[in-house]
């Protein structure tokens, strides 16, 4: 189906901890339609982040296939995955993970360094991304000069600057107060509804999950739909 952006079939992920085999995901199937906004909830160690890593091409399944946007990630080499990530997926982390030595603008510009755009074009696109997240006036500020919410906005701008179809958010509001968290979640909603981004968000926060179109519950390596409250 062309409406499906990502499809996971029979995905298992087993880690070795010493001699012990730990199965984090067990024969998991999942389809993510284009333009969806999914919240994945579940206890710590349930496999939420592993699922996100597989969708983002940061990890490979032990068994099964991961297909995102027509690309079969499970069979790609590390360098192919690097290249794929640079254009197809944006990552948003709990602790923002901005480079402290670069200004907001230069942090947002980072993914564009991997493109053929010249310096002027890169700055133009990074400025537009900052404008979308409402931080055009903070372009020359360093991360240490920004609040947590502003840092996360910069991280979101960095995630969308190369116009990927999929945004993967790992606890994007986990380090923020309620009010700021709501601002960030509203911004994600705007990106989903107005800019057509497909978003998969891992969260522990039930209120955050309410901003998503649907929620999935991850436990012991399997997924199930969560009933709306």
């Amino acid at each position: 189906m062309s409406d499906i952006l990502a499809r996971l079939e029979g995905v298992s992920r087993i880690y070795l901890k010493g001699k012990e085999r730990v199965e984090v995901l067990h024969e998991l199937d999942l389809e993510i339609p284009k333009g969806d906004f999914i919240a994945i909830m579940g206890p710590s160690g349930s496999g939420k982040t592993t699922l996100l890593n597989l969708l983002g091409g940061l990890d490979k399944p032990t068994a099964g296939t991961v297909n995102v946007g027509g690309a079969e990630l499970s069979s790609m080499s590390n360098s192919q995955l690097s290249h794929w990530r640079s254009t197809n997926v944006g990552f948003i982390f709990q602790f923002y993970n901005l480079l402290p030595v670069l200004t907001a603008l230069r942090n947002v510009e980072l993914p564009l360094l991997l493109t053929d755009f010249n310096s002027k074009e890169r700055v133009k696109r990074a400025s537009i991304a900052l404008d979308i997240v409402g931080l055009a006036d903070r372009a020359k500020h360093y991360p240490r000069e920004l609040s947590g919410g502003q840092e996360q906005r910069v991280a979101i701008a960095r995630a969308i600057v190369s116009d990927p179809s999929l945004l993967l958010c790992d606890e994007p509001t986990g380090d923020l107060d309620r009010e700021t968290a709501d601002e960030i979640l509203r911004l994600l909603q705007v990106l989903n509804r107005e800019h057509g981004k497909t978003i998969v968000m891992v969260t522990h926060d039930a209120q955050a999950a309410d901003y998503a179109n649907r929620s999935l519950h991850c436990d012991k390596g399997t997924l199930e739909a969560k009933e709306a409250a």
């Binding site: 990530r85 480079l99 670069l102 980072l110």
Partner: protein, 385 residues
């Protein structure tokens, strides 16, 4: 180049640490420049030696004189185009600290032997005409402020005069120069005839012969033919190229090249440890940032290149500053010590070697941290962050 801003900002993330590392690189390359230049001076004529010039010395030792009577026999040897001679005088001007090389020579044949040396023809003629005349290199004339016509008394340390005196008076008849920046002009030449007539001992001898091999002749065969002529005589000879002669002359001071190499080896080994430690710390501190770069799509090669470039950039900053200041100091040293230690010169070869060393040392210091960054597991690094 598009990564330069990122590399530059990373290099200066810990300003004090980077400044100290750059400073240590700076000192190492300053030392490199100074020792290279001094080593060059001690190598003397080795680098400016002419392959078609041979030098004939006593087989036992350079300090043993050889008979003047050998001149015609050497000149008559097949393959020899021209011959001249020279002798170490070893005097000083006014004060024992003012030492520089002086040689009694035959003006015309000596001048003909060294086409790279130039002097106005009228000065050469005046030198030839005046039995107590002398010529000096421009470097020496500038050091002591000598002008044509000056009387220059030289105190002998070896060659006393027949009348028991040690002071040799010369009139300055000419000042010569050379186009080759590596060639020294901190020396004095005077008439052998005057020397021969006035000296108290050693008459009928010279220090060494210099000869030019005829075009097409094999220098090795010519050298063997000369040495064969004087075999089993009281003064057997050893004929070698000018470069080998210059090297044997330098070895009288000890193996300067080895000493310089050992000092620099120790300095650069320490430098590698210092800068390697800086790079290791730098990578260790930003494991999460490197993982983020890889998450964004920076490949293994890009991450390796970024970290290696940082290491090389630190070396280049300190190294170029060190070489630059070294070059300035050497310009001053060459003027101050020109007479005492002629030929102090930072050669283009040494500069190129220095830059290559910076890149090599930067690569060595950065390669292990860079490999660590390249092999970083994104998931592990992000989980630890």
């Amino acid at each position: 180049m598009k990564y330069f801003r990122l590399i530059w900002k990373n290099v200066w993330r810990k300003k004090i640490r980077t400044s100290l590392t750059v400073l240590s690189v700076f000192v190492a390359f300053l030392l490199f420049a100074l020792l290279s230049a001094i080593g060059f001076a001690f190598r003397g004529g080795v680098d400016v030696a002419d392959a078609e010039r041979l030098v004939v010395i006593d087989k036992i030792s350079l300090i043993n004189p050889i008979p003047m009577s050998y001149l015609n026999r050497i000149a008559a040897t097949e393959g020899v185009e021209s011959v001249t001679h020279s002798t170490w005088f070893g005097g000083y001007y006014q004060d024992p600290r003012n030492q520089f090389p002086q040689f009694p020579v035959d003006p015309q044949s000596y001048y003909d032997m060294y086409p790279e040396v130039s002097m106005p023809p009228e000065q050469l003629e005046a030198f030839k005409r005046n039995r107590t005349g002398a010529v000096v290199g421009r470097e020496l004339a500038e050091t002591y402020g000598w002008k044509i016509g000056d009387q220059i008394p030289i105190q002998a340390t070896i060659w006393t005069k027949a009348d028991g005196g040690r002071t040799w008076e010369f009139q300055l008849e000419g000042i010569f120069s050379t186009d080759d920046p590596r060639g020294s002009t901190a020396l004095m030449l005077f008439q052998y005839d005057y020397f021969e007539e006035a000296r108290a001992f050693g008459k009928g001898t010279v220090g060494w012969y210099i000869l030019r091999v005829a075009k097409g002749a094999d220098p090795i065969r010519v050298a063997n033919a000369i040495d064969l002529q004087f075999a089993n005589s009281p003064n057997e000879t050893k004929t070698s190229t000018e470069a080998a002669f210059a090297q044997s002359f330098t070895k009288q001071f000890g193996n300067i090249a080895l000493i310089v190499m050992l000092i620099l080896g120790a300095v650069f080994f320490t430098l590698l440890l210092v800068s390697g430690n800086t790079m290791s710390q730098s990578v260790r501190e930003r494991i999460a940032e490197l993982a983020v770069l890889k998450t964004l799509g920076f490949g293994d090669g890009a991450v390796l290149g970024i970290v290696l470039s940082e290491s090389i950039l630190i070396m280049l900053m300190g190294g170029l500053l060190g070489l630059g200041l070294g070059w300035l100091i050497i310009q001053g040293l060459a003027q101050q010590m020109g007479a005492f230690l002629p030929g102090v010169f930072l050669s283009p070869k040494a500069i190129a070697g220095g830059v290559a060393t910076m890149i090599g040392a930067g690569t060595l210091a950065g390669i292990f941290p860079a490999l660590k960054a390249m092999r970083l597991s994104i998931i592990d690094a992000l989980a630890r962050a």
